[in-house]
């Protein structure tokens, strides 16, 4: 890798994010360097998507900051980012190209520039023939590819992908992975959220394991295996995330007398185990 790879591009400093009583991120700090593919790996509800949304400027941190290399807050510089969210959010009555062009125009990029970039990546994704088609009839794979083209068309410095291969067939997933590598090889930076370790190992230069809103490990797949003294990344992951997944909702209402009354009246209850004991199945 070139020197570019060591240049810091995006800095997350001691970020906390909570939604009501739920603490989604608990003091996360990391640095993203240019020219690398960083994998965010974690179980469902670990905080991957929240971190990705913070880095893309969709969310603002409850505490801490997410800044770009020039010191700007990330939500003020969204044009430097290309985002592919979990649900692609394409407009079904527009063609694939119209969707891409619309996005680029909002970033102030000329149609000519975005068309050139789109054509270049569409070739890699085998999407040239589908650019003039309405996205209404697209398969999940085609939608995902269109969203990728849309994210790349305005020439972002950082590409943020939220589980880009989820629900894709083997061929489409391979194509997406090879495009991600192509972007990196051309000097781009990719942040790649996934919960598939095999995929992370294949694609990413660096893996960040996130669990219960906390970063548990950060390093190359080999480094993670050597830290945990495990032979596979899966074992390393299990080793690092042994702590039980947090309770997502804390029951604050049970504190006071009113809360107790509320819980008594409205809290959903499971049947008591002792009540079920001895009950005949035929009854």
């Amino acid at each position: 890798m070139s020197n570019m790879a060591h240049e810091s591009l995006l800095t997350v400093s001691n970020v906390f994010k909570n939604f009501g009583d739920v603490i989604a991120l608990d003091g996360v700090s990391l640095e993203i360097n240019s020219g690398e593919i960083v994998g965010l790996v974690g179980s469902n509800g670990a905080g991957k998507t929240t971190l990705l949304r913070l880095m893309s400027g969709v969310y603002r941190p409850s505490r801490g900051s997410v800044t770009l290399a020039d010191g700007n807050q990330v939500h003020n510089m969204r044009s430097t980012l290309g985002v592919v969210p979990e649900s692609t959010g394409l407009y079904s009555r527009l063609t694939a190209w119209e969707n891409i062009r619309y996005h680029s125009r909002l970033y102030g990029v000329s149609d000519e520039t975005s068309w050139k970039r789109t054509l270049k990546f569409a070739e890699s994704l085998e999407m040239e023939d589908n650019l003039s088609r309405y996205t209404r009839g697209f398969s999940r794979g085609m939608r995902q590819k269109t969203a990728l083209l849309r994210a790349l068309a305005h020439g972002p410095k950082v590409l943020l992908l939220d589980e880009p291969t989820a629900g894709l067939d083997i061929t489409s997933a391979r194509t997406v992975r090879s495009l991600v590598k192509q972007v990196r090889n051309e000097g781009g930076t990719v942040i790649y959220s996934t919960h598939q370790l095999y995929e992370a190992q294949q694609v990413c230069d660096r893996i960040i394991i996130i669990h219960n809103g906390v970063i548990k490990a950060d390093g190359s797949p080999q480094e993670l295996m050597s830290i945990t003294e495990c032979n596979s990344l899966e074992e390393a992951y299990v080793n690092l995330t042994q702590e039980k997944a947090r309770m997502r909702f804390e029951d604050k209402k049970s504190d006071g007398p009113l809360g107790k009354l509320w819980n008594k009246l409205f809290k959903p209850k499971l049947p008591d185990k002792t009540e079920l004991m001895g009950v005949d199945e035929d009854e």
């Binding site: 407009y91 009555r93 527009l94 119209e98 619309y102 125009r105 909002l106 102030g108």
Partner: protein, 115 residues
């Protein structure tokens, strides 16, 4: 300023394209009123008019029974669609027994009998 105007223009343009391509909404808000207005303003009045003409053409036959017929009473029924017959009252046994008049109204030989 020009940047935000450019964005607004881009969004507006996209919305218009989406709207134009949404034929179901276009049918609902344009075609249906175009079809409904002639129905409301042409067909309904024609139907109501013919209904009124039918009512106008019907002649109501009223028989007034009595021994004296004040002019004021006659004038009250003096419409083109009303035909009044004045008949001297005839008593059978009692005033409360209607005689044949009840059956005449029932068989629609006459529309009303006043006495």
């Amino acid at each position: 300023m020009s940047n935000s105007f450019h964005r607004v223009k881009t969004i507006a343009k996209k919305e218009v394209i989406e709207f134009v391509r949404d034929w179901r909404t276009i049918v609902a808000i344009i075609i249906i009123p175009i079809l409904m207005f002639p129905v409301l303003f042409i067909v309904f009045p024609v139907l109501l008019e013919s209904e009124a003409a039918e009512l106008d053409s019907r002649i109501i036959e009223i028989e007034v029974q009595g021994n004296q017929f004040p002019d004021q009473l006659i004038q009250q029924f003096n419409y083109s669609t009303t035909e009044i017959t004045l008949t001297n009252v005839t008593f059978n046994e009692s005033l409360s027994i209607p005689g044949d008049d009840f059956n005449r109204v029932r068989n629609m030989e006459i529309d009303a009998v006043l006495f």
